[in-house]
């Protein structure tokens, strides 16, 4: 019997594969290649081997070494401050919304989700006005005497507030969807056995949504490492470059003023990518092992 050739799946998957190759795979490979070169984006790259990496990692006197260390340190601070909040807060809200007595669940969910749809620049302008000492609510209603974007720890608080405001909704939807999939009879039998709400959360909800939790944790962390818009718009990296994150340095080197330093920027980007890969793998391994 002649085997029927079914090309339909190829046509559906094909465009995605093409787009992946053109816009993800090839640029990534070229980016890694560029990290071993000196390149100003206009002329051909010149191969320099590991020079860029040596400078970034080991040359204490180099500006690029200082920038990488400062950028990575600030990025890590952002990750440590934002990720736990972006995991715990949506989870608590999702669980709270499951309560029978809560009215208007979809409306609350929509209100929390909408900020995530607003562009970071527009959101930042709104929050900067709210926190403006002269014109904003924080100065006039709460009597704050501080210029938040230019003083620490307020600058970080400001960045974290806008991040949480914009980021809670995404994870919330994932948690709500997965919690709604948990069988109700588990809760009912646990309730009959006398389990309280905390026990039910710890023994039923959390294990049941293990995979969504691992997924959001890994993806939120990876996303947080790529932070760029919030510190750029809210503090411009200040005060004294204490909120200047790595992506800002990378962008400035590659597409900033004057001749581009794209080779060095690529090397920094590759190193950042390796850090993200390592931490994501570690998170996945640890969380999956503990849950097994």
């Amino acid at each position: 019997m002649k085997k029927k050739l079914n090309l339909a799946p190829v046509f559906f998957v094909g465009p995605h594969v093409i787009l992946f190759i053109v816009f993800i795979l090839l640029p990534t490979i070229y980016g890694i290649y560029a990290s071993f070169t000196k390149w100003n984006l206009m002329n051909d790259p010149v191969w320099v081997g590991l020079d860029n990496y040596k400078t970034i990692l080991f040359d204490n006197s180099s500006t690029f070494h200082t920038q990488f260390n400062n950028g990575l340190k600030n990025t890590l601070i952002f990750v440590l401050l934002s990720v736990p909040l972006l995991i715990v807060l949506p989870l608590l809200i999702a669980v709270a919304l499951e309560h029978k007595k809560v009215k208007g669940k979809s409306l609350i969910q929509a209100i929390l989700y909408v900020p995530g749809l607003i562009s970071i620049s527009a959101g930042a302008l709104i929050w900067l006005l709210l926190f403006n000492k002269q014109l904003g609510m924080v100065g006039n209603v709460f009597g704050s005497e501080v210029s938040w974007p230019t003083h620490q720890p307020y600058a970080w608080i400001l960045i974290i507030i806008i991040t949480i405001w914009g980021g809670v909704g995404g994870n919330l939807i994932i948690y709500r969807a997965s919690i709604s999939g948990v069988a109700q009879d588990l809760y009912e039998s646990a309730e009959m056995d006398g389990a309280g709400p905390i026990r039910r959360f710890a023994s039923i909800t959390l294990p049941s949504i293990r995979f969504p939790l691992v997924y959001t944790f890994v993806m939120t962390t990876a996303g947080a490492f790529n932070v760029f818009g919030q510190p750029l718009m809210m503090t411009d990296g200040g005060p004294r470059q204490s909120t200047h994150v790595l992506m800002m340095y990378i962008r400035q080197l590659a597409f900033g003023n004057g001749e581009s330093i794209a080779g060095m920027a690529s090397a920094m980007a590759v190193l950042l990518g390796l850090v993200i890969l390592l931490i994501s793998a570690l998170q996945y391994y640890v969380m999956n092992r503990n849950a097994a």
Binding site: A8, P15, N43, K133, N257
Partner: protein, 414 residues
Amino acid sequence: MLNKKWGFSAIALVLSLSTVLAGCGNDDKNNTITFWTPLTGDDGAYMDQLVKDYNATNPEIKVKHVITADMYTKVSTVLNSGKGVPDLAIIHADRVPGFVKQGQLEPMTAVTTAQPEIKEDNYLPQAWNTGNIDGTQYTVPLDIHSNVMYYNKDLLAKYGAESFLDDNVVTIDEMLSLQGKLDEGDYVVNDALLGWVILAQIQDLGGDIQEDGKPAVNTPVMKQAFENVKKINDAGLMTPFGEDGYLMFQSGNVLFSTDGTWSSTAHAGVEGLNFGVTNVYSPTPDKFTNRSSSHLFAMLKNKDRSEEKVAGIGSFLEFIRENSMEWAKAGQTVASKQVIENPEYQNYMQSFFTSNEKEIESLYIYTYEYYPYIAEAVDTYCGDIVRGNVDIDETLATMQKFVEDKIAEGTSAQ
């Protein structure tokens, strides 16, 4: 059933291919001059109008204005691939030396030969000269956009400071004389475009940002420039760090705002703001500088640009030279002498800066090859230095290293 499957597949293929290939088509590429500008603000609309006016003259080849956000990134991409290079572009003055060194600019010789009125005599000298490298003209100027100082007439009268403007030079000492005399919430000056102010002070002090072609950032003159401005902050006369000094000027709490010529249109829209414009403050009454840049028409290297198009570009630039009064509406100092000598130009506030030779000379454009790196260093650190958040000597050394490292990394690729 099979037909239905194939139908879906065909639609999916067509949609994806049309997405990928969108924009590749360019039917009118031979009879249209593609003109890229980075004018993403209100000025883009004024340029649109100028292009529309030109096209209304029914030229042989029409101009298509494309406002391109992040233009320099896109320029490097198209130059690298050699495809999609615009026929004409507006670039900033500080980009010229770098582009020329990379061999990415076409000389304007064909344009200036075909259009004899496009010549140095018909433009503001520094705007024209910024495009001249080793005797070859690479650009034709559109404007000079400079740092200027707006003043609040009501506040000057309130504090008896109108005499500061008598010689058109407000000195730092005059500003300091107001110490202790202002109501709470009022300030003498804001920190808008502070980096440009610092770079102007260097000229006022007789210094420069380079010595024998090498960057000179960690210098006594630079230190003096920072210390002079810091004096104003230390006396409590500068708007507080982190406050929006631009808005504070508009709300009538600041005597002077060191902003750009282009802000005059926004200030004019504020009800009750009674303001004028003068030169940026100086440490000495003998010299004043308004740090400036310039928008320049340039032809990036493009092997597909035909002679007809070059002729069309010449016609367009000649039209702009004669008809760019529209550009004055954007608040810019127009580079064409024919426009600025037109009595109508006096209606625009920025005409102050071309009212006499001394004012024209005050519009200073840095043309040092590595100016962009130095400007970046100054912008990055000036706020913290002037506010006393960092040690000045240490930071100047860091800035010098910052510039040197970038230069070493950038040029060694050649």
